[in-house]
Amino acid sequence: MRRAGLILGLFLTLLFTGAAVLSLVWVPQDIEALRIAERMQGPSAAHPLGTDHFGRDILSMVMVGARTSIAVALVAVGIGMGVGVPLGLAAAARRGGWLDEIIMRGNDLIFAFPSLLIAILITAVFGAGAVNAIIAIGIFNIPVFARLTRGAALSLWTRDFILAARVAGKGRARISAEHILPNLANLLIVQGTIQFSLGILAEAGLSYVGLGAQPPLPSWGRMLADSQTMMAIAPHMALFPGLAILLTVLGLNLLGDGLRDWLDPRLRRAAR
C-alpha cells in the first residue's frame, strides 16, 4: 500500500514534469495561433482535451502551464531552502544566542501573517507577474525550512559523532556544513517535496486572481479564471486545468510521504 503510493506519486510527478520539459521543444499545437472557428470544442481526436475560447488546444496549454507552475514552485522552494537552511543551521549552532533568538522571533512573525493575503499584497505592491509570485511564495518557505533545520540540527548537536568532531578541533561552521547538513538531507528532500506541492497550489491561486504569471504566458490558474464565465457552455475548459493541478499536487504529496517512509522510517511520525 505504502509502496503503491510512492510509485503513483513518482509516476504523476514524472508525467507532469515530463510534459513541462517536452513543452519546451514540442507541443501538439502552437498556442499563440488563434483559431476562432475551432473555439470551445469538446475533446476530440484532433484536440484530446478540447479547445478554449480562442480555439487554442487545451492539451498544449496545460503542457505549457505545467512549465509555469513547476518553475514558480521550484524556484520558491529553492529560495526557502537557500535562505532557511543556513539560518536554521546558524541558529542551532549557537543555541539560545542572539542570532537564534532573532531568527526564531522572525519566524514566529512570518507565521503570524496570513500567507495568501501577504502573497497577494506583495504581488500587488511590486506588480503582478511570475517573478513576484516566486518571491511571495518563497518568503513563506523560509521559516518552514529554518524551523525544520534548527529543530533537527539541535538534536544532532547532542550526538557523539559531533562531540568527536569538536574534540578534533573543528569549528561550529565547519561542523554544520560537514556533519550536520548531510544528515539533514533526507528530511529536507521530503519537506521540499511538500513545499513544492504547496507552491503549485499557491501559484494557481495567485494566477487565478490575476496576480501570477501574466498573459500570454499560460498558467493553470489563469486558464481556470478564463473558463469561469464560460462554464455553462464549455465545462471542459474548467475541468482539465483543475485536474492538472489536482494530479500534480497529489503526485507530489504521495511522493513526499512515500519518500519519507522509504528514506527513513523513523520520520514517519515526525513531520506533518
Binding site: 512573525l109 496570513p114 493575503l117 497550489l201
Partner: protein
C-alpha cells in the same frame, strides 16, 4: 505560575503586534504611486492635489503618519478610506458581516466532519474505512479549493439550480437566503481544512490509544469505547484544538480567493479592491486586523493549553 506565564505571553503578544504593524506600514510605504494623484486622475491641478494631500494627511512625515494610524487603531479609529471617503472601521464592520459568518460556517463544517471521520479512522486503523478516509483527505489537501468551488457552481448552481452562482443578498433578506448563499463557499473553504483536521485527529488519537494509561484503563475493566471517550479522546484534543484555532484565523483571512469566486462582499474582496484602487489605508488596516486576529487566537490557544496542561507552562 499560571499568571506569570500569562504575563510573559502577553508581553510577547504586544511585541508581535507592534512589529507586525511596523512591517505592514513599511511595506505599504514603498508602494509606488501617490494615492492623492491616483484619486484625482491625470488632469489634477497642483493646488487641488496639495489640498487633498493635506486632507488625507499625506504631507506629514512617515513617523507621524505611523503614530497616527497605530494610535487611532487602539481606540477603534481605522482612518478614512481614500476612495470611498467613509470611515474604514465602518467598511470593515460591514464586510465582517459576511466574512465572520462564512469563517464560522466553514469551521463548523470542517470540525463537524473531520473529527468524527478522524476518530472513526483511528478506531478502525488499517480497515477499509481508514484507507477510505485517508484517501479522501489526500484528495482534499491536493484539490485547489477555488476549482472545487467552480465545480460546485457548475453542478449545484448551473445544472441543478439548488443554489445561486454567487453574490450575497444581505442579512436583511433573512437568515435562510443569507446562509444559503454562504453554503457553497463554506463547503469549498472547509474541504482542505477538514482534510488536514481529520489527519491530525486520527494521528493524535492513534498516539494516545497506544499509550500506557489506556492499557491501564482497559486493565481496570473499561471497555474500549469507555477508555476512548474518557481518556484517549481528551488527551488527543490538545493538538486538535491548536489546529482548530489556527484554522479559524486562516479561514477569516484565507477566504480571499473563494470570495472572488462567489462575488461575496467580504473582507478578502475588500482588500483586493482596495489594492487595485491604491486605497492603502484600507489595505493597511484590514491586513493589520487579520494579523491581529491570528496573533490573538494563537495567544488564546497557548493560554488555554497552559491552563489544561501545566507541563507546558515551563516552556518558552
Amino acid at each position: 505560575m499560571m499568571l506569570r506565564y500569562a504575563a510573559r505571553r502577553a508581553v510577547s503578544l504586544v511585541l508581535s503586534l507592534l512589529v507586525a504593524s511596523l512591517v505592514i506600514f513599511l511595506v505599504l510605504e514603498i508602494v509606488p504611486g501617490d494615492p492623492a494623484a491616483y484619486m484625482l486622475g491625470v488632469n489634477a491641478q497642483p493646488d487641488t492635489l496639495a489640498a487633498l494631500r493635506a486632507e488625507l494627511g499625506l504631507n506629514q512625515s512617515a513617523t507621524a503618519r505611523y503614530l497616527d494610524w497605530a494610535g487611532g487603531m487602539l481606540v477603534g479609529d481605522f482612518g478614512i478610506s481614500y476612495t470611498y471617503r467613509t470611515p474604514v472601521a465602518e467598511m470593515i464592520a460591514d464586510r465582517l458581516q459576511v466574512s465572520l459568518p462564512l469563517a464560522l460556517f466553514a469551521l463548523a463544517l470542517s470540525t463537524g466532519i473531520a473529527l468524527p471521520a478522524g476518530i472513526w479512522a483511528a478506531r478502525r486503523r488499517g480497515s477499509a474505512v481508514d484507507v477510505g478516509v485517508m484517501g479522501l483527505t489526500q484528495l482534499g489537501v491536493a484539490i485547489p479549493n477555488f476549482w472545487f468551488a467552480m465545480l460546485m457552481v457548475l453542478v449545484f448552481a448551473i445544472n441543478l439550480r439548488w443554489f445561486g452562482a454567487g453574490g450575497f443578498p444581505g442579512w436583511e433578506a433573512g437568515l435562510w437566503p443569507g446562509l444559503k448563499s454562504l453554503t457553497l463557499p463554506a463547503v469549498a473553504l472547509a474541504l482542505p481544512q477538514a482534510s488536514i483536521l481529520a489527519r491530525v485527529m486520527r494521528s493524535a488519537l492513534l498516539d494516545t490509544l497506544s499509550s500506557d494509561y489506556i492499557r491501564t484503563a482497559r486493565a481496570k475493566g473499561l471497555t474500549r469505547a469507555q477508555a476512548l471517550r474518557r481518556h484517549a479522546l481528551r488527551n488527543a484534543m490538545i493538538p486538535v484544538l491548536t489546529i482548530i484555532g489556527l484554522q479559524f484565523s486562516f479561514l477569516l483571512a484565507g477566504a480571499i480567493i473563494i470570495e472572488n469566486v462567489f462575488f461575496l462582499p467580504g473582507l478578502g474582496r475588500l482588500v483586493f479592491q482596495a489594492i487595485s484602487a491604491r486605497d492603502l489605508i484600507v489595505v493597511e488596516s484590514v491586513v493589520m486586523l487579520l494579523v491581529f486576529a491570528v496573533i490573538v487566537v494563537n495567544f488564546a490557544v497557548d493560554l488555554a493549553y497552559a491552563w489544561i496542561d501545566p507541563r507546558l507552562r515551563g516552556r518558552r
